[in-house]
Symmetry: C2
Subunit: 122 residues, 2 copies
DNA sequence: CACCTAGTTGCAAATGGTTTCCATTTGCGA
DNA sequence: TCGCAAATGGAAACCATTTGCAACTAGGTG
């Protein structure tokens, strides 16, 4: 949001980004924290949360909520608007770039007199 | 879950259901609690949560999560699978019964070799 | 109608994810 | 090398939701 913002390159931030880079599915903040500690890195849970929040704002990672309300994060390949297909069993995820849905959503919104439609689909 | 379960008709349960009946949009457990107290009714917050949980299991109410993770509940007209169109400003909601989406979702799932697809769309 | 008992209630305390406080550390431009 | 704002992290605060438990009650039974 901030017009000009300087972000430093810290060991912790790099570690979190690396972890997300390797991950093949969504991870929760706590899972990342555990994984980092397991690797022997000293990173505070608070720091993980703060960086994920920052990266989400910068749109470097995607953020979705599980059914139980826990936040899950994932580094996305494209910076564009898209959806995910998530396996409930193993968490395997497929990214979707779907114009059809967009078109459909807009038409639907018009029909019901809504505007500025955004949507979530998992 | 229990095969045979007897549910009593209590003052509190009726009040919660009434409130949902009148509501024109989603309500959080806390909002309901406040509303009931405002009406002069003595209902414990715990009771509100427990009844909402029960009603959700019995599929008498729908349950969705707001962006911030808070649970919102609404009594639905139809007991069938459907989606909602929610106004981000006022909370006004439209229920959708959409076969097209279902079909699309299934085709998409097949394409990516998923099965037993469920989805959320708001 | 009085009784029984499992469903129900509600306060307090516990949970669990996430955020805030604040003192200390650390990038990094000058 | 200096200086300082950004960043860190452990503890405490937050807040929605859940659980423990003793008291209460709807509603079927004798």
């Amino acid at each position: 949001m901030a017009a000009i913002q300087r972000h430093r390159a810290t060991r912790q931030r790099a570690a979190i980004l690396d972890l997300l880079q390797e991950a093949e599915s969504f991870l929760s903040a706590q899972q990342m924290h555990d994984a980092l500690r397991a690797k022997g890195m000293k990173v505070g849970l608070t720091t993980v949360y703060r960086n994920l929040q920052l990266m989400t704002e910068l749109e470097e990672v995607d953020h979705v909520r599980r059914e139980d309300g826990e936040s899950m994060y994932r580094r996305c390949d494209s910076g564009e608007h898209h959806h995910h297909l998530v396996c409930r069993a193993c968490g395997y995820t497929v990214e979707l770039a779907n114009d059809q849905l967009e078109t459909w959503a807009k038409a639907l919104a018009r029909k019901h007199r809504f505007s500025q439609v955004t949507h979530d689909l998992e």
